[in-house]
């Protein structure tokens, strides 16, 4: 008996993926978008405001025109604009709730002006901030999609508070953007290889893997790892590298996403690299696609290549292309059932 498919997933690319290429200064925004089209990397595009647009969020009419015309020229649907919730911008003093609200408003306006229906927001602001922003976002017709990036899994205390607020306010401008780095089942090989290049030993990697697999909060993992690998001779920069395994790779079971699918407005297809068969061994994308489709999710997944944080061995364009091949293969299989 065939199972009725309730949802549909469309493919997009986030320009975040090209950080290494972008920072080189050798590409224009148009180059990035044109290449994404030439490689057929989806029908949707995601842009990080503070990465792609000078003076963001206080953008000019010319910038708005440029972005809109590039989206049209290369036939991309604007999917999400990424805000940053910089509550620590003063370093020695965190923003209070009202200051954070005011910091986010111009970013909502930027999304509205650029024609992006979703503004990716972050868990650095508490539920109270987003609750206060609901009338402003409703007026701008921009959905605040709060990214669930590890360690913010569906049952993290801050996320529970967010979910309670969503239920209470019940507004179309509140939603979640689950990031697939939150639900991994292994530390990616590409990341482990980069550790070795930094002089980390196999023994230290084994300890890191063991601690990663423990069911304890991330801060406790940092506390356990540091002294253990230091005793094995790891230097502070090497410990910093190993900590990346805990800060980037979450262990939430994929099935847990089902709890928040009704609130899901967009997905981040985080990835680290591929094996020789084109598989991402640390993230079970087939299971992820099935979970969201069966749960009735209708929207995009945007490729987010994390390579610029740890390796320059591969071209980000090639890597995103590989992920799209994998995604297309998965969708074909699911649609054929």
């Amino acid at each position: 008996m065939s199972i009725m498919k309730k949802g549909n997933i469309k493919l997009a690319t986030s320009l975040f993926s090209y950080a290494y290429e972008w920072n080189s200064g050798q590409y224009t925004l148009e180059d990035m978008i044109r290449k994404t089209r030439e490689l057929d990397l989806g029908t949707g595009l995601e842009i990080i405001g503070f990465q792609s647009l000078r003076n963001f969020p206080h953008i000019t009419e010319e910038q708005i025109k440029e972005v809109k015309s590039l989206m049209e020229k290369y036939d991309f649907e604007p999917v999400a604009l990424d805000a940053n919730i910089d509550v620590g911008i003063q370093r020695n003093k965190l923003m209070n709730v009202d200051e954070t609200v005011e910091y986010i408003k111009p970013q909502i306006t930027a999304a509205q002006k650029l024609g992006f229906p979703i503004l990716r927001c972050q868990t650095t602001a508490p539920a109270e901030v987003y609750k206060k922003l609901v009338p402003f976002a409703e007026k701008a017709n921009v959905v605040m999609g709060i990214e669930l990036h590890t360690p913010y899994s569906v049952d993290h205390p801050s996320v529970i508070k967010m979910r309670e607020m969503f239920e209470e306010v019940d507004s179309r401008v509140l939603g979640f953007v689950p990031d697939m780095g939150t639900c991994m089942h292994a530390i990616p090989d590409a990341l482990l290889t980069s550790f070795k290049e930094a002089g980390v030993t196999d023994e230290m990697i084994e300890v890191t893997k063991e601690i990663w697999l423990k069911d304890i909060p991330t801060p406790q993992k940092f506390q356990q790892l540091g002294p253990t690998v230091a005793a094995m001779g790891a230097t502070p920069p090497q410990i910093g590298r190993l900590n990346m395994a805990f800060s980037m790779n979450g262990r939430q079971p994929v099935e847990k996403w089902a709890e928040i699918i009704p609130w899901t407005v967009h997905l981040h297809g985080k990835f680290y690299g591929f094996d020789e068969h084109g598989d991402e061994k640390s993230i079970d994308y087939e299971k992820i696609f099935r979970t969201f489709i069966d749960g009735g999710y209708n929207g995009y997944i945007a490729s987010e290549y994390e390579g610029s944080a740890f390796t320059d061995e591969f071209s980000a364009f090639d890597q995103v292309e590989k992920q799209h091949k994998l995604f297309k293969k998965i969708l074909k299989k699911i649609n054929a059932e």
């Binding site: 975040f16 950080a19 290494y20 972008w22 920072n23 080189s24 200064g25 990080i48 503070f50 990465q51 000078r54 003076n55 963001f56 940053n84 919730i85 910089d86 509550v87 620590g88 911008i89 003063q90 370093r91 020695n92 965190l94 972050q122 650095t124 801060p219 910093g240 390579g307 610029s308 944080a309 740890f310 390796t311 320059d312």
Partner: protein, 133 residues
């Protein structure tokens, strides 16, 4: 820190004039940050520069290094460079090679860590011999 470090100091980053040296740097994050989220330490030919005299030029404006913490509205776009101005009595001349040790610290304002929720420190030390332009 990571692959983006290679862009911090380009080969033409160092320049010399009658007042001293100028060192142009790019940030190693993936997005713009304001000067309030940055700090740096600098040695030229092994000698630490006098922090009180150093200025930072960004977006056509110059500020004392010691004011950086307050400059939350002075953004360094990720493709732009800021210039550190180092006053010197007898600066190296154009064509001289200088050994530069530049430690750039970024305090990531949206990633808070620890019980006191302080911004994540992403610091990188770049050591390079640069030709004075």
């Amino acid at each position: 820190m990571g692959p983006l470090d290679k862009y911090i100091l380009r080969e033409d980053a160092l320049s010399s004039n009658a007042q001293g040296l100028g060192l142009r740097f790019q940030s190693h994050w993936y997005r713009a940050l304001p000067l309030s989220c940055m700090d740096f330490n600098l040695k030229v030919n092994g000698i630490p520069v006098d922090e009180e005299k150093v200025e930072v030029e960004i977006n056509g404006k110059r500020f004392p290094k010691q004011k950086m913490l307050e400059l939350k509205d002075e953004w360094l776009f990720i493709l732009d460079q800021a210039t550190v101005h180092i006053p010197m009595q007898n600066p190296p001349k154009k064509g001289d090679i200088c050994s530069i040790e530049f430690k750039l610290d970024l305090y990531i304002p949206y990633i808070l860590i620890g019980p006191d929720q302080h911004p994540l420190l992403a610091g990188t030390l770049v050591t390079k011999n640069l030709l004075c332009q």
